[in-house]
């Protein structure tokens, strides 16, 4: 029987074979694995330079076996610009959380996209500051309670959650911008396809590639991982529609054309 079976799912080569520091059910792990799978499949490992950001995923560099540099909080897109402009022959990846990218790093991500830097950005939106203990993020949903909006985020006082994939899609240098989720097998598969496109627009020199991944933070949501996953479907996706918002490699699609 052993001879008749084939290993169809295993750890990607470029993903270090060590346990992660993430909380149980935290989907940074899924995002890491997808990135690693693509790096393997696209044979990018030997030319990748990864720019990590400050958030729970700062230790990405311990997991992804590629050259890496740690950027200050929010500045990964600027650091990636420095990397890519000095080594245009390399594959440059950034990985950022929602506090990092959409709050403190707003100017850097917008200008990086607008310049059309040939870099690929993985943006993990878990509607909260994970690392620092669950404060409000720019993507925190209306009504969501966090440690710094204990009464729940309100439109009146804190404003609406920012939809980054749509904002980035508007900028001249963006070749690809999409939003996917990591809550179901189907969505994870779509997420990987979107990430692949975001990688390809770089390898093909088309421009800036951006993927927003809706993910859970069970710890700071104070939900068990399965319930947290349900919240993604029930609350996040309705506000953050999945879809491709810009694709220079294909005619534009609206939300909902990538399966929900």
């Amino acid at each position: 029987m052993q001879a008749q079976e084939r290993l169809v799912f295993d750890r990607p080569k470029v993903l270090a074979d060590i346990p992660t520091h993430y909380c149980p059910g935290c989907q940074h792990g899924v995002a890491h694995r997808l990135a690693a799978e693509l790096i393997d499949e696209m044979k990018l490992a030997e030319k990748t330079i990864c720019v990590t950001s400050i958030g729970c995923s700062v230790f990405l560099y311990n997991y992804l076996l590629v050259d890496s540099v740690e950027a200050p909080h929010g500045r990964a897109p600027a650091t990636a610009t420095g990397v890519k402009r000095s080594r245009p022959d390399k594959f440059v990846l950034t990985y950022q959380g929602d506090g990092d990218l959409a709050s403190i790093g707003m100017a850097e991500i917008i200008h990086c996209a607008n310049r059309g830097e040939r870099v690929s950005v993985i943006f993990v939106n878990n509607t909260v500051y994970g690392m620092t203990g669950g404060q409000m993020a720019p993507t925190t949903l209306i009504g969501q309670k966090t440690t710094t909006c204990p009464a729940g985020r309100s439109r009146e006082h804190e404003g609406m959650p920012i939809r980054m994939a749509e904002l980035i899609a508007q900028l001249g240098g963006t070749a690809y911008s999409a939003r996917a989720a990591l809550n179901t097998v189907k969505n994870i598969r779509s997420a990987k396809k979107a990430m692949k496109k975001a990688f390809e627009v770089q390898t093909k020199g088309l421009g800036f590639g951006f993927v927003e991944l809706l993910a859970t933070c069970p710890t700071n949501w104070r939900l068990d991982p399965v319930k947290a996953n349900e919240r993604v479907a029930g609350e996040m996706i309705p506000y953050f529609p999945l879809g491709v918002f810009r694709d220079q490699t294909a005619p534009a699609k609206g939300p909902a054309e990538v399966e929900k």
């Binding site: 560099y61 590629v66 050259d67 540099v69 740690e70 610009t81 990397v83 402009r85 390399k90």
Partner: protein, 356 residues
């Protein structure tokens, strides 16, 4: 290094810096406009690109400094330039570069402060430059040219030092240096060794394990270890101190000043010498590490000191610390916003000489 070609060109300090950087093998410039250093990015946007390098006008000084961090992590000679408010915005990134041991060259054409201040010359950023305006204990090498030729020479040295120590290096000038034209001999240093940084630069983990540049150290004792290593590096940097002495041998009073102010002080010293007064000048070229040893030596010879600065009194602390136990230093300030003039210095020098 082939130094001092005979052909001189007549250029601004800003342009000397830009040309020197290109000569030094600078491949990337990241910057944001601010007076009085705009000639540097403007020159680079043309000449660096023609030389095959990359010029990026960043969205801000925060971004400039973080682009620099990225290029430095790849072992590429890169620089930024700015002026006081812009340099303040770079402090976090400079601390990161120092903490993750990434080389970079940063030019500050100091203007009047605090706040928006003015666009005239000032030395108000001495503390920020030498004590690390950012968080943590890091240090940057700080070089303070006093002429256009020295601006050219020191930017070349800055790149070498940045890579030698894997540390940011600051060039501290001011609006006088940046805008003044002088004859400069644009000598060409030896080309950059292609193997520079080969053992640490990021370029894809091909045929080797991955490399990482970071400043986060969470394991017990890890950050302490890094701080210890950094401290050792700062000690090693002491070898780089550079300074100029002018007529100090028989001087009773040594005037301490740097950069443009040192030139102006020199005019005053020269004039007073003609009047027969025994004064000399000590000009640190490196502000960090500060040339304490040579100053202490002068103090040991029984000389007295007067520090003249274009600020409210900053370098005077380094002078006092250098000569402590042997002597002290008087202090004379030109307020930023006023232009320093040699005549203004004569009175305080005479007073200090008279032992007040």
């Amino acid at each position: 290094m082939t130094r001092k070609s005979p052909e001189k060109i007549f250029i601004k300090g800003n342009e000397a810096i830009a040309r020197g950087a290109i000569a030094a093998g600078c491949k990337c410039f990241f910057g944001y406009p601010i007076t009085p250093q705009n000639d540097i990015p403007e020159y680079m946007s043309q000449a660096l690109v023609e030389a095959g390098g990359e010029f990026v006008q960043a969205e801000s000084e925060v971004a400039s400094a973080n682009m620099l961090l990225g290029a430095g992590a790849c072992g590429i000679r890169a620089m930024t330039s700015s002026s006081s408010p812009g340099i303040s915005l770079m402090q976090e990134a400079i601390s990161y570069m120092a903490g993750s041991e990434i080389p970079a060259v940063i030019v500050n054409m100091n203007r009047g402060g605090p706040g928006l201040g003015d666009i005239g010359p000032s030395q108000g950023d001495y503390f920020q430059s030498t004590r690390g305006g950012g968080h943590g204990d890091y240090r940057t090498l700080v070089l303070a040219p006093a002429s256009c030729q020295e601006a050219y020479d020191l930017i070349i040295k800055a790149f070498d030092l940045a890579f030698k120590y894997r540390n940011p290096v600051l060039i501290l000038g001011d609006a006088i240096l940046g805008n003044m034209k002088e004859a400069v001999s644009p000598w060409k240093p030896a080309p950059v060794d292609p193997a520079e940084a080969a053992d640490w630069r990021l370029e894809g983990a091909k045929g080797r394990g991955p490399r990482l540049h970071k400043s986060l150290y969470l394991h017990e004792g890890e950050l302490a270890g890094q701080n210890k290593r950094l401290q050792e590096k700062y000690l090693a940097m002491q070898a780089e101190t550079d300074f100029e002495l002018y007529r100090t041998e028989d001087a009773d009073l040594v005037v301490c000043a740097y950069g443009s102010i040192a030139r102006i002080a020199k005019s005053a010293v020269r004039k007073l010498r003609k009047e027969g007064l025994k004064v000399g000048l000590f000009r640190p070229v490196n502000l960090y590490p500060f040339p304490s040893g040579p100053l202490a030596e002068l103090a040991g010879q029984g000389k007295r000191f007067l520090t003249i600065e274009h600020n409210l009194g900053q370098m005077v602390e380094d002078v006092r610390l250098s000569v402590r136990g042997l002597a002290d230093s008087e202090q004379f300030s030109v307020y930023p916003g006023n232009l320093p003039l040699p005549d203004d210095f004569e009175e305080p020098i005479k007073k200090a000489l008279a032992g007040k």
